[in-house]
Point group: C2
């Protein structure tokens, strides 16, 4: 098996690099990339004044072109769950300040150029959302979902040093990375074709390892399919299998943690249930300009196993990164303050409505598609045309691709997308004389419109 990974030039040239047997030819890859990037090389400023001024103008032109390029890319972006509709408003004034929240958000350090007051306000907002009383809550603004997952699992491991991490195979790659990093055994649990955890497999794995505590990653919106693991069912199984208080649950709510509370009949993620931590991304639904996130823990856990007093910063260090981005909390604060719970609720409703719209349009043109309940992640047959995949920056896995409908995605954008997909697909299938691909393995027979399954479904209906 070999396939082609495409390298894309920001200035529209395209290079290709072989991914042979799943392994990248590293040196070839790197030099190809480098040659594309040559015009960005950092040369020394010239001694000559006039030459320096000209060089500065060139730099500004390059930056302006790059900005135009980013805007073009943003307008054709559907694949990753990033909200690209940003309103920075009065926050522009902070851009030239180095703001650093080093140490613990709740404890002042000697360093004064920080934004802890905004960070604490954001944490309080999330604690309210997830029903954790202020005085039982600890957390911080992270550099993204990965850091939140790393932190949650580390708290779990420190509480249960002999624990095993259980995570469904549809979990984000950061979960498996963290397990490796922390030297903790990790058991992958099967999933249904919806992406949700296979509970019988979970129970069976638990029963084989009853001697050791369980550190469970619960997905509140899987990366690829937006599937939500059933927290209540997981807790019930843990108790049925005799784990009583010998478990720690981390909820990876990177994508849907902010959506769930606003969806009717969606399962509740709350600290009223015996969970240890929840982490969410800030650059997804909330549209922060840099990757960031929020992680919330029970303060008793963090105090028990994570705290180290650091005299140098006259603070404590219970975070992963120590020195922390002080701009991100201000962005999150401003967004939450501007739109409030109600505003988010409206955005979530719109995203889900638009996702339903996209799913039905795709099916109408004969493309296999699937949308989980309480999700805005539309999963569908992976387009055969690589140029189309790149243009719309689609995330792909095996036979499927997805579109994550975020607030900046309009129905107009979706209409254009579906039309272009229909055209590109028709051309691709004609050119390659291929059949409509089967996606039953990835999203189930009932959602597959390939010639085999569409007939079966059709027949069974009769």
């Amino acid at each position: 098996m070999s396939h082609l990974a495409m390298l894309e030039n920001p200035d529209q040239e395209v290079n290709s690099v072989m991914l042979v047997d799943g392994q990248l030819n590293y040196v070839a890859e790197k030099s190809a990339t480098s040659s594309v990037y040559n015009r960005y090389e950092i040369d020394e400023p010239p001694e000559d004044r006039q030459a320096d001024v000209e060089r500065q103008l060139c730099t500004e032109k390059l930056l302006a072109q790059y900005r135009q390029h980013l805007q073009d890319k943003s307008s054709h972006h559907l694949g990753y769950p990033f909200n690209l509709e940003l309103n920075v408003g009065p926050l522009q004034q902070f851009q030239n300040l180095h703001i650093n929240n080093l140490g613990d958000p709740f404890i002042e350090s000697n360093y004064g150029v920080h934004s802890r007051q905004f960070e604490v306000a954001v944490l309080d907002w999330f604690a309210r959302l997830w029903d954790l009383p202020k005085d039982q809550c600890w957390g911080y603004v992270t550099n993204g979902g990965t850091e939140g997952n790393m932190h949650g699992l580390l708290v779990g491991r420190e509480l249960f040093p002999e624990g095993i991490i259980y995570a469904s195979r549809d979990s984000h790659y950061s979960i498996f990375k963290a397990a490796k990093m922390y030297r903790v055994q990790c058991i992958k649990i099967d999933t249904y074709s919806t992406g949700e955890m296979h509970y019988a497999d979970f129970a069976s794995q638990l029963l084989q390892n009853t001697g050791r505590p369980a550190i469970v990653n619960v997905n509140i919106g899987t990366t690829m399919k937006g599937a939500i693991d059933d927290l209540d069912e997981i807790i019930r199984i843990l108790q049925d299998c005799g784990y009583e208080d010998k478990f720690y649950i981390h909820c990876d709510a990177a994508l849907a943690g902010l959506m769930m509370p606003f969806i009717k009949h969606a399962p509740r993620v709350t600290f009223k249930k015996p969970i240890g931590s929840i982490s969410v991304s800030g650059h997804k639904l909330m549209g922060c300009p840099m990757p960031c996130g929020v992680t919330i823990n029970r303060s008793k856990d963090v105090t028990a196993v994570m705290s180290t007093n650091i005299e140098y910063v006259a603070s404590r260090d219970a975070t992963i990164t120590g020195s922390r981005n002080g701009h991100a909390p201000i962005f999150l604060w401003y967004t939450l303050k501007s739109i409030g719970y109600k505003g988010i609720c409206r955005e979530v409703e719109m995203c889900i409505k638009n996702a339903q719209y996209l799913t039905s349009r795709l099916k109408k043109i004969g493309v296999s598609a699937f949308l989980n309940k309480a999700s805005s992640t539309v999963v569908f047959e992976k387009p055969g045309d690589q140029a189309f995949v790149r243009k719309w920056q689609l995330a792909c896995e095996r036979s499927i691709a997805h579109v994550v409908v975020m607030p900046n995605v309009t129905t107009k954008m979706l209409r254009i997308f579906v039309q272009e997909l229909a055209e590109s697909r028709h051309a691709f299938l004609s050119r390659t004389e291929a059949n409509i691909p089967c996606v039953a393995m990835d999203i189930g027979q009932e959602n597959c419109l390939c010639s085999l399954h569409d007939v079966v479904v059709h027949h069974s209906r009769i």
Copy 2:
């Protein structure tokens, strides 16, 4: 032993919280902080239009006050190695874009709104600085020195799963945090009073553990004293103790990695020597507005032990954080492009000159002070007056404090600082009837001006 940690209100009120026996009373601390931060609480936007407009004006006023507060704080900041002199120039135009360099810097992912071309250019610049040929270099722009250290040590551990981490006790706290996180035994090596590693102790520890490989953290500028461990000596000792190729060296060059190459007669940190990785901070000398850094590895190591192909992003993941800040590389690129090697050289020379100036001024007023060779970190007797420490945001440890002279620190600022210190110290010593504190334990008898040691030094001179 108990001492007082002060909580500072950004609006100039001051609260105090007890640090009892080195342990913070967490709940009390938190609620005290919360009450100070009340005006930042995120309330729901009102339904009423007029009320909403008024609320928006209040928010803008709050933000403007906060900006003023940050500027005041910046102008009295000396304690941490952050360059607060930022010139964002034409980069303002990117602030409202979500730029995300997810995955490997050298391999395009499907996500198009990235700044990899800037990141690669920055990495190339550093590879040149540290003599690593482009085709043997891998690295990425991190979220700060901590992430760089975590990454370097992880590569070391993966290459030598049975390895022991050796780090001097003056190493940054992230080294010990990483060891704990990675479940790797860590041996703390003694230091001289200069902050430099005690090489005889290092050799003796190595000899006690010859069965297991060594993962060595070498400090290129310790956090508190700016001390530089002797890389050549460390390599020699490793070889003398029979470690041959059974070692991995990570250089924590967070502070001085960018200064050393520009200081005459300073020891050379270079990939021509058998080191595995170097990491440096980007928000220190270079003055990036968010914590960030650069970590450079040998690509063969990363390819061997860190790479995982991630189909979802159609890229590889050999980083710690996965989704990565795309703004930081643009800032670093713009700074390096604007000032070049020569510009940095000028800034480094100025910082060191100003640090020498400060050291001599401090000694002149009778304050014990010490400055390492090739360093801009001035270590001196910890001021007794807490309000003074907070005003100048001094980092303190045991009996000492330090000032890290960065490019934004002017001689005028230093003159005012020394004058205020003299006044505050005189008042403090008179009020408390205390003697001049002895700092011999922390910076050596020869640098101590307390009544005991000053006399001894004086006598020995006679």
